[in-house]
């Protein structure tokens, strides 16, 4: 049954868990904003060219329009790397699992890590 020691320890681990989750979420949101800015700017400038300014022979890279390569594929490859980095280095293992105070342990507890 829950006791005061359990409650104190629980609140400590819960604080650490919450702070770490906020830190990770903040990283993702900043990355999202940078991506939005880059993709919007690059595609806006290179991919949304007014009809009168379009070249007769559009630039292609391996058969793909250049704006697709720079505005879509390049950030995509970079973000794969960022996601791997995030998963390996940024996202920490979670705090040890503890039941909520004053709550019976979940019947699923046999599956807890």
């Amino acid at each position: 049954m829950p006791d005061s020691n359990h409650d104190e320890k629980f609140l400590e681990t819960q604080s650490r868990h919450f702070r770490q989750c906020v830190k990770e979420a903040r990283f993702v949101i900043v990355t999202w904003l940078i991506t939005l800015f880059y993709v919007g700017t690059t595609i806006g400038l290179m991919g949304y060219v007014p009809v009168e300014n379009r070249p007769d022979d559009p630039s292609l890279i391996l058969g793909i329009p250049a704006w697709v390569c720079w505005g879509l594929l390049l950030p995509w490859f970079v973000l794969i790397g960022v996601t791997w980095w995030f998963a390996i280095f940024m996202m920490k293992e979670d705090e040890p699992y503890m039941d909520f105070p004053n709550r019976e342990p979940e019947s699923l507890s046999q599956t807890q890590p």
Partner: protein, 535 residues
């Protein structure tokens, strides 16, 4: 394309090629074997936790593949390729948000929601919200919104599934719909969440293998991608011709793309909010909206949230992120390449039948034995989304509304029978709606993602991360986001200024309401918050 129903009885199946049928039926048998295997777990475990979150025991592969298979629906494997087939490279911006979908979708809330769900015993997202705010109103309103938006999504997927089967089996749409509905409802009802997640894993693998295998076949068939792209430079825009205007220079190579193809169905034209003399297909504002929708929309999607409640530990989450990072590039990159080649092959599809482009291309460029597998890929995408959506609706109705809101003392055996019953009834209801054969798939999918994200994103995020959030604020954000989305989608009053997707307005309104109403209402007792946020 000629509908076989024009020349034969609706129930006749014309396909006799065993090389197409064999791999497809092998895949279907695999799905049912998994469902039967998964059902055994239900007998050993507590019904609800097993039926709705699979005992919270899933590792990286099951988490990653079931998450992406649920997210990537018929919209990704039929609807999006259909648009690329119709609008060329201009559709690249449509998927720009998918560059960061995996990171945003799992990285922001995955760990947090999983831990809190374990600690509170939540089996659904609504459980979690109700528990934090101790609010019955949230427990009623939230599932109603979820049931509504998910039903729209289900409808889109039933249409997609029926169309694939119609194409593959050379039968009518109606026969395809019957076969699809019967099979998917049967294995979902019988196997529950574990069967859904396991079959999703199989389907996630079949999907990506199938769509990637199409790339070299399509590129080879047109003599190289550059050849196909150069051919697009001279492509005439049928919608422009129909309107009596010239095709814009390199319309298929640049945004905003060619003219929007007019749908003969007037209701759909209204849905898109364009006049009959509409501007080009993808204005920049809509493109940016799609970036936001495709990335943020994945965070609190009702069909993907159960996966976050069901994974085993953070290690599984981290590995799943690594698996998912390249998945979207392979998926949408392959569609962009294959469908920009497909137009050269003259698939013989009328504009309103372009949702059939992937199966028709597979039949055209692949050897028959491979074509069966390639057609199974989009079918897998559809099935994996339908089974998840069925379970979400079942959980919302049985767990969130009946059990938690109205009859808390209901017995487990009754819950079990109700869960089976609701899954079947919902399947049947959507089946009858799909009989009306709505013409385009992708708008329904986008409606679901946009509506869901408008209503659910901020309230759910505030519940998980913001101490100052209140029940009133969450409800206000939920209702206001949903209503704003629907109204902006119907009337589009600001399109004369800038054309944005209605999601942007719903999303913004929801966020403002959560913030302002929470600030205006009394804060939650700090002792109630400590278990969620610590000290």
């Amino acid at each position: 394309m000629t509908d076989p129903s024009d020349t034969a009885a609706w129930f006749e199946i014309g396909q006799r090629d065993k090389y197409i049928l064999a791999p497809f039926f092998a895949y279907m048998i695999g799905v049912f074997v998994i469902a039967i295997w998964a059902h055994r777990y239900q007998k050993k475990s507590e019904f609800e936790s097993e039926y709705y979150v699979g005992g919270r025991s899933f590792g990286a592969w099951v988490l990653a593949m079931s998450w992406v298979a649920t997210l990537a629906s018929g919209g990704s494997f039929l609807g999006y390729p259909s648009f690329v087939y119709s609008y060329g490279w201009s559709m690249a911006m449509w998927v720009s948000g998918s560059t960061i979908t995996a990171l945003v979708g799992l990285g922001i809330v995955g760990k947090r929601i999983n831990r809190l769900a374990r600690q509170t015993g939540a089996l659904t997202l609504v459980d979690l919200l109700r528990e934090r705010f101790k609010s019955r109103a949230i427990g009623v309103i939230y599932p109603i919104v979820i049931v509504f938006v998910t039903s729209v999504y289900l409808l889109a997927q039933f249409i997609a599934g029926a169309r694939i089967l119609a194409s593959m089996l050379d039968t009518s749409y109606y026969m395809g719909l019957i076969l699809f509905a019967t099979s998917v409802v049967a294995y979902t009802t019988y196997g529950g969440f574990r069967a859904v997640a396991w079959t999703d894993t199989l389907q996630g693998i079949v999907m990506i293998v199938g769509i990637v295998m199409l790339v070299p076949l399509a590129v080879h068939a047109v003599g190289g991608l550059e050849n196909a792209t150069r051919n697009l430079m001279t492509r005439e825009d049928p919608a422009a011709i129909k309107k009596g205007i010239d095709t814009a220079k390199h319309a298929y190579l640049y945004g905003p793309g060619p003219e929007e193809i007019e749908n003969d169905n007037s209701e759909s034209s209204e849905e898109e909010g364009r006049s009959p003399l509409s501007d080009p297909w993808l204005p920049f504002g809509v493109g940016i909206s799609m970036f936001m929708l495709r990335s943020l929309g994945s965070v609190m999607m009702p069909t993907t949230v159960p996966r976050m409640l069901a994974f085993r530990d953070t290690k599984a989450l981290r590995r799943a992120l690594m698996l998912l990072a390249p998945y979207f590039l392979l998926m949408y990159g392959s569609s962009l390449i294959t469908m920009n080649c497909a137009h050269m092959l003259d698939l013989g599809l009328a504009p309103v039948d372009s949702d059939q482009a992937v199966p028709e291309l597979a039949k055209r460029v692949a050897p028959p034995i491979l074509a069966g597998l390639l057609i199974a890929a989009p079918f897998a995408a559809v099935m994996s989304t339908v089974d998840s959506a069925l379970l979400v609706i079942s959980a919302s109705v049985v767990r969130d509304l009946i059990q938690k809101s109205w009859f808390p003392s209901i017995r487990e055996t009754t819950i079990k029978h109700l869960s089976y019953l609701v899954t079947v009834v919902v399947g049947l209801a959507v089946f009858f709606m799909a009989l009306t054969k709505p013409p385009f798939l992708q708008p329904l999918v986008i409606y679901y993602v946009g509506g869901g994200a408008s209503a659910l994103f901020w309230p759910s995020l505030a519940t998980l991360f913001w101490k100052r959030a209140t029940a009133q604020g969450v409800i206000a954000g939920l209702v206001c986001g949903a209503i704003t989305f629907v109204l902006m989608d119907l009337f589009r009053p600001l399109d004369f200024l800038i054309e944005l997707h209605p999601f942007i307005y719903g999303f913004t309104a929801s966020g403002l309401m959560v913030f302002s109403v929470s600030r205006m209402t009394p804060a939650q007792d700090s002792r109630e918050l400590e278990p969620y946020f610590g000290r």
